[in-house]
Structures are given as structure tokens and as C-alpha cells.
Symmetry: C2
């Protein structure tokens, strides 16, 4: 059972990855809480709860309070946080109440933020149900919601007491969501893990099939979390290294904004964003054509990335509000080899435009064929 | 020019108190920002800006961007934060933007919270314009907004880069607001500063008159901030000692809730809350009748505390949602002498009810006479 430690100046906690873990939640949570009878409130979505509540509750002596939030990026806004906070207050939750975030990235981000600001901070545990949340958003302490002006513009750093990952949860994920989550695994491989890169290249079939067992997928999840934890341990607050986790996200976020967060799954947008970023890298000579081919092939291997409609110039304009900017400068993450990256600040709008046009050309080609 | 240092595990900064300071803001802010041309955004209320913008801007080479928030506790809610955040994003504010909170407690609490959660945290400076904000809310890093379910139930600990206090700003305050602010000074004296207590007893006339100069008032402001900073330096996160700052606030917050945050100024509600808390202390023998008399006389000296309508039982019920509770236990602050307090956890609802009834009896007596 892999246990990966996150250790930053503001918190230390473990990410536990174990198939079947969901049936053994309560004793783990009680131990983490340090209380004999912790006061628990679950935040989840109706869909997740319908599928998994029986297994989730199997180890609980008495069922905890459950608050619901509809799934979907469009609910990741402050009014949802206010409503949940009001429900917590009405339920009598105090500073010793422990929240359990059970769901995908939206549930985890909102619940983490709710925990960060309810009574100026209460503890929470991440129990991610989607692959995307397991490999990325449930680790690292970033929490938050969107503004009309952009994604994740409101938030806090607030680490969970623990992240509990049961890879069996992804057995019921629709294939598109599985593939969307795997784009973040591809990202982890490209930026920092050549061994994971090769494993993803060579085991796509077993990983995507989730059959006969989920060993291959569990290995991908574990390696991806290890990359994330390792980066966060070095740079919790994104003053430097942590920016590499943003690979593919500059254009990816612009694509999500241009399509109103409705048309593509997050991982699909990030997939296209990685293609665009690879073009920037190729055009500057940061990577060779051969490296470009291997990396873009891997991205598409975990596709298909669905087509969408947007002007290249519009996408570039939308990157201007990217919150990775500091004093007007845009940080951009470029691969320099398989599993190695650099952060640069001099990528021009023209370079971005050219690369985005190449990405859109690829999209047209794929749609034709 | 008194400079009081706040030094906690999460931040170190200075509170500077100087009459006339408002005319010299820009060089101070530039130095604090560490930038030659800091990107600044002021958050203020239309009223404050109308009165003071000329003096505020006197030292600025170019005027900064200004965002407005109407004054008043009823605007201290999440939708106001969302609107301001959206305006910041539209104005292109990034992680290096420095917010200037210029106004009373509501402006300071909201702007501090906005700074805490905009892009997961940007810097801000407190420039409090009311006495209440100067002696209390602008120091200590507590930021936040209200929920329908209660006051300050949403928030963060986020310290300012500095707090800049110009006592001349209180020269234009309506007398009721001045007296409201002085209730927090009275509180500081009761809980921790016998010398300030005596000074408040003996100089009420000069303090309240703000004439011929504001030396007496400046001394009260400075001493009150020193109490607050000293307490926060020992216990930033309110795990122990910091709870003493809550003296008078258990019933005070209940009074504000019962009157819909509209009828009384914060300090007026806290004044009544102090009277109720003094009754609890007297009834248990924590203080003598003579100590009770001196303390309640001082509270009324900085009155008048206006009457309001509420059942004692209703007020006690409303204390149940007080966020100082931990696992259902209510922390209650009791004076044990002039300038000394203890925190107890065994004050019963019956004791609170009796004390609240005594407070209401005093109110009826004062209204008659």
C-alpha cells in the first residue's frame, strides 16, 4: 500500500493509495482526527453518493451528516460556498468539525476552500473519486473557486489532514473522464518522470481497459501523485518549481474559458494545451522534433481530444488573465527533454499565437481523418 | 511616533501611530512594498473617500485605482467580496498587486479577506479610519465576512504588510462612533491594562472632547493597540490567550444578531455585552462588588449605550452559534481584577440568562431616568 508524504512549511500529511480503501474509511479517519468520536460532515455530489454511499458508510458506526453539491465546474463559485457554509453553521459545525470531501475535483476544491474559510479554518480530508482528482487536485493544498473573470481566481492554500485514494473508484468512471484524468498523468510524466513516460507509452491498453485488474492504473496514479508531492514539497507556494505543474495549462485554461467551461472536460482542454505548449517548445528549439513527436503522440494516445471552436487570437488574449503572471510577466513551462522542464518568462504573444494555430491545424487534420 | 511590532509565526509587521500620517502615505507604502513603483488598489467607502481623498492622495505621484464598497455591516458578505474580486481581475490585478484598505472595520475585514483569497493571497495594508478599526480590527490578522447564520463565520487569518494609524482621522467621526470605538479600548483596559483603565477613568473629558488636541485619545489608541499586539504575539490563532479579546463579545454578538446588525453600533453592543459579562463575574465571585462598580461605571462613562428590544432567553439562545465554541464547549472570558482575566468553559446557560436579565434591568433603569 503506497503511502506518499507531503511535507511543506505549513503542513505534513500522507496520501494513501489502496484499492478497496473505501470500505475501511472510518477507523482511518478517526485515527487522523485524534478524537474518539470525531464530528464529521461529508460534502459530496448526489451522483457520487448514489453510486458509492453504501461502500463509503460500510465502516461507520453511525452515518455522518451529508451535504450535497451538484457536480460540474459551473457550480464552483462563491455562492455555492456560502450556501454550504450556511448549512454547516445551521448544523452546528464548530472548529473541531472535520469535513470529508468525497468527489471529483470540483467537490475537492470547494470543500477544501470551505474548510479554509469556515470559522477561519477547520480540518478536512480528501477522498477523491475521479482520476483527475486522485492524480492532481486532491494533493498539494490548493483550494478555490472560479470568478466570472477566470478559473480559480479565488482560493486558499489549505492542506487536508490526509488524502485517501481508492483506485477502485475509477472503475465506474466514463471512459472520457478516465482519459481526461490521464492527461494530468501524461503531464506529470512529461515534466518530471521519464519512467512514468515510458510506462504510459508501453501500457496504454492495460491502463485504459482497467482490466483484468487496475494494477497498471494504480501504478500510474501512484507515480503521478509522487511527482506532485515531490514538487509541492520543494515549493509549496508556487514561487518557482511548482509552476511546472502548470504545463499545458496556460492555453488549456484559455480553451476552457473560450468554451465556457462546458464543452470540454478539464483534462481534454489540458491535452490541447499541452499540444500547444509542445509547439512553442519545438519552435524555440527547446526540444527536438523526435521528442516533440513522442510527447504529442502520448498526449493523443490518451485522447481522443475532442474538437472545439475558437480563434487562435482569442485564446492568446484569454491567457492575459492567467494568474501565474507576476507584475505583468507570464511564466511559461517548456519541456527540454522527456521528463524535464524549464520555466521561462519571455514567451511572446506572437509565439503563443503561432503555436496555438499549429494546435488548431492538428485539430482540423484529426477531425478530417 | 509610536511603532508597535506584531510578531507571530505567520507574519511580522509594524503598526505605526502618528497624527498627520495620512499626508505621508506614499513613501511609506512604497518602502513597505519593496518595489519602486508598486501596483496599488485602494478599497474604501464613498463617504470616507469624499472626506479624505485629498489628504490621502497628497503624497502620491499618480493616483492609484480605487474600488468602492458601501459602508455598513450588512455589506460585509460574500457577494461583496465576489464583486470586488471580479473588479480586481478586470483591472488586471495580479499576485504582486498591493491592496490598501482605507476605512472602518467593515472595509478592513472585507479587504483583508479579499487579499487573503484573491489568487490565493496577495498583500495588503490597513489604513483604518474609525477608532474601532484603529484600536481593534486593523491589528491581528483576522479577516472575514458574515453569514446569515452569524457574524464573521467566514474568514481567514491574513496579516497586513503594515497598519498605518492616523489618529487625526477620528476628528470627523460622529460622537456615537467615537464612543463605540472607545468601548474596545475599555475592553482592553479591563482585560489586561490597569494603567489604561485608570487613564480612561481620569481623562474621559479630554478623550471624548478630542480638544484642544488629540493627545489623550492618541494615548488611548496606542495603549489599546499595544494590548492587542501583545496578546496576538503570544497566541495568534486563538488557541488560548487570544480568547480574552472576546470579553463582552459573547452576549455582544448575540445582541447584534437579535437587532439584525442595524440598530446598534458594534461598540454599543459590546458595551452591553461587557455589562452582562461583568454580571456573570460578579455572580460567581470572580470580582468584588467594588470592582464590578468601577468597571461598569467605566463602560457607561463611554456610553450612552442605547436601549434595544430583545428577550434575555433569545440572546442566550443566540450565543449557541458563537464560533469560539470548541466541540460544543463555550469559552467565556471573565475579569478577575482590574486589568486581569481568566477563560472558563463552565458558564451555564442559566448563569448567562441571569446576567443578561440583570443587564436588561440596568437598561430599563437607565431609560427611565
Amino acid at each position: 500500500m503506497p503511502v506518499i508524504n507531503v511535507s511543506t512549511p505549513s503542513a505534513t500529511y500522507d496520501v494513501t493509495i489502496a484499492p478497496g480503501l473505501l470500505r475501511t474509511l472510518y477507523p482511518r479517519i478517526r485515527k487522523l482526527s485524534g478524537s474518539k468520536s470525531p464530528r464529521l460532515v461529508v460534502v459530496t455530489s448526489p451522483n457520487i453518493w448514489k453510486l458509492w454511499s453504501k461502500r463509503f458508510l460500510a465502516s461507520f458506526p453511525t452515518p455522518p451528516e451529508v451535504l450535497f453539491l451538484p457536480a460540474g465546474e459551473r457550480f464552483k463559485r462563491l455562492p455555492a460556498v456560502e450556501r454550504l457554509a450556511q448549512e454547516l453553521a445551521v448544523a452546528g459545525a464548530d472548529r473541531d468539525t472535520l469535513l470529508l470531501a468525497f468527489g471529483g475535483g470540483v467537490i475537492g476544491d470547494i470543500t477544501g476552500f470551505l474548510a479554509a474559510i469556515y470559522m477561519r479554518g477547520i480540518p478536512y480530508i480528501q477522498i477523491p473519486s475521479t482520476l483527475l482528482a486522485q492524480v492532481d487536485s486532491s494533493v498539494g493544498g490548493k483550494t478555490g473557486v472560479n470568478l466570472a473573470a477566470g478559473k480559480n481566481l479565488i482560493g486558499s492554500f489549505h492542506h487536508p489532514l490526509a488524502t485517501l485514494v481508492d483506485p477502485e473508484l475509477v472503475l465506474t468512471l466514463p471512459p472520457a473522464e478516465l482519459r481526461s484524468g490521464l492527461q494530468e498523468a501524461v503531464k506529470s510524466a512529461i515534466i518530471r518522470d521519464p519512467a512514468l513516460f515510458r510506462f504510459l507509452e508501453q501500457n496504454a491498453k492495460a491502463i485504459l481497459a482497467r482490466k483484468p485488474d487496475i494494477k497498471a492504473l494504480t501504478r500510474v496514479v501512484t507515480a503521478s501523485i509522487r511527482v506532485k508531492a515531490n514538487v509541492v514539497n520543494i515549493d509549496e507556494r508556487e514561487n518557482g518549481l511548482r509552476m511546472i505543474l502548470n504545463f499545458g495549462h496556460t492555453i488549456g485554461h484559455a480553451i476552457e474559458a473560450a468554451t465556457n467551461y462546458k464543452q470540454l472536460l478539464h483534462g481534454q482542454a489540458i491535452g490541447w494545451g499541452q499540444i500547444a505548449a509542445l509547439h512553442v517548445a519545438l519552435n524555440r528549439g527547446s526540444i527536438t522534433q523526435k521528442q516533440f513527436d513522442r510527447m504529442s503522440t502520448l498526449v493523443h494516445q490518451y485522447g481522443p481530444l475532442p474538437p472545439f471552436k475558437a480563434q487562435a487570437s482569442r485564446l492568446v488574449t484569454l491567457t492575459a488573465s492567467d494568474k501565474k503572471r507576476r507584475s505583468g510577466r507570464r511564466a511559461f513551462v517548456l519541456p527540454i527533454a522527456i521528463g524535464a522542464t524549464e520555466i521561462v518568462f519571455d514567451v511572446t504573444d506572437e509565439e503563443l499565437l503561432t503555436a496555438t494555430q499549429s494546435m488548431l491545424a492538428t485539430m482540423r487534420q484529426l477531425t478530417k481523418s
